[in-house]
Structure formats: C-alpha cells, structure tokens
Amino acid sequence: MSTVRIFAVENQLARVVEAPGGKTVDEHVRAATARIEGVRDASLASLVQKSEALAALAAEGRAAGSGDALGRIYDLSNAIFGIAGAFDLQPLAEATFSLCDLADGFRSGGSANWAAIDVHVDGIRLLAILGDRAGEAGAASILEGLRRVRQRVLPASG
C-alpha cells in the first residue's frame, strides 16, 4: 500500500531573517551587484580559458569520431553561458546556448555534426577573447552565421 503524507513544516528561513538588523532589499541587491562586478575581470579571463578547453574537447571528440565528448562539450558550454549571462555578454551567451542545443540534440539523437560544432566553438572563442569589446556589428554577423548552421543541422528543434 502506498503511503502519502502531507504535513506542515516550519519555515526556518523566515524565522532566521526576522532577526534585528540587516539591510533593505534594495541595499542587498545593490551590494550584490557591486560584489559580482568585483569578480568581473577574473570571470571574463576564465571565459577565454574555458573557450580554449572547449576547442580542445571538440578536437578530441572529432578525432575519436564518437559522441562521448558531447556531454562534456555541453557542460562546458553551459558553464560559459552562465558566466556570460551574469556579465551581460549577450552574444557569447547566445552562441553558447546554441552550442548546448547542438550538443544536446546530437547526444540524444542523430550522429554528431562536428563541422557545426567547430563553427560554434570558433565563434565562441572569438567572442570570449573580445569580451566587452565585441562590436555589435561583428557579434551580430557571428550569431547570424551560427543561427543558420543550427537551423540546418537541427531543423526540427525550436
């Protein structure tokens, strides 16, 4: 017989934050934004390293001719996506999101199209190196190219 229990639990987080002191919500948000900005340079530098690691993974996967590397490519691309988004590097975030789509699509279905992955990795490396300096026009043309590649190799996905 299945046993289902539904019961109330104490909201300990609510009890803890009621302690006197603290700051206003607005002050917390401003302080957090400033602290994140404080690790901007180190984070952007890590994006370059990660994009180089991504290129090495793609080369390894292509040479092996198997899809084993796709999971790691997905994870690394996803990590770059998270950092790029945190610092409002929109083109890099979009490029890595697109690579995640590809890697996820290839690992859960058809065979990997390594040429499509390579094009993405090259675009990601360039955008990571340029960082804040990625010009709007240049980034737009890279993204347009990646969108076309993605549509060609993953036509069914949204």
Binding site: S2, V4, V16, H28, R35, D88
Partner: protein
Amino acid sequence: MGANQSKYERVNLSTAEVLLACGDTEGLNILAEMFAGFGVHTPRRCLTGAEARTAVQERVLNLMVVDAALADEEGYDFISWLRRSETAPNCYAPVILVTGHTKPSQIFRGRDAGASFVVRKPVAPTVMMQRILWLLNDQRKFVTSPGYCGPDRRLKAIGPPAGEKGRRHDDLSAEVGAATTPNLDQDMIDAMFSPKAVSL
C-alpha cells in the same frame, strides 16, 4: 518583490546558513559574491554533490541554492536525495534550483525532484532576492509519497479538478451541494451581529 516585502523593508540574512552548490568554479564564485552582497556570512560552497551531501549531514541549513550542473552529478539528483534523506530539518529546507541551458522538461524535472523554485540563468541579484522573499512567505506543506518527496507542487489552493473528489483531506469540492439544514432567517443573522449582554 515578494508578496509582503517592499524594497525598503529590512531582511537580515547574516545568520542564515546557506549552501551554494555549482559545478563550475567561476559560477560558484559569482553565486558566493551575490550572497555575500545579501549579507550571508560564510556560505557552505560545494562544487560536487558529494560535498553538498556531506554539508547537509553536518549542519543545519536554512536555504540551498543548487545549480543543475554539479561537478560529479546533476543538481536534480542531489535534490531528490536531499528530500528523501530524512535529515530533518535540512530535508525540508527551501531549495532554489538554478539552470543554464533549459528545456521545459528540465523545469518539470527540477520541480519533480523537489526544488522549491527553479530559476533560469542569467540570475540577476534582484531576481534571486525576489525568489528568496517569496520563499519567506512560502506556506506550502511538505509531501512524501512513493513517487514524490518535496514541497507541495500546487502553488495555489484552487481545489481539485471539476468532477473529482480530490486526494487531500482538506480538499473541498467546487460544486456546492443542496443545503442540509434550514436557511437562517434574517432575525437570526441580525442577532449574530448585535452585541448582547451576557451573564458570566
């Protein structure tokens, strides 16, 4: 902002015990800086699910923020383990799942793993604070069953689907049945609102 908090109200997270788990070092740093800005002192930082499990068994935690991608496993698996771990009160603690590349199926997976909230990257401090404020007012009950363990996945109590009895003892039917007692007449209703002297 949260249901009952304005941006001018005070929140004190300085004594909150917070676990931050993310499989990427820089991603974890960003989360840690955000929570330092929120006033959280020395959050427990974990790159792996194994570290997070150890932390759950070592100290009482008030909030957990878990990335879907941990270094050794998926955040979903950690949350599922947590909810069934019987490590009270930690197994009942609010958990915010942070996802990167997100498909709808991952949102449902996070919900079904027992996450209190699923937040998609990029997570701006204002969004994270909104979710924390929401959790402060979270009155949802906890459900344990063979198929699910975690906070009640129904965010609104709107009763069971029409025509169904409902599975909870306090579910009320949307259909109103025939009266089983006589209607009150107006004098009886008025009497309920009129103060009367009583002898004690």
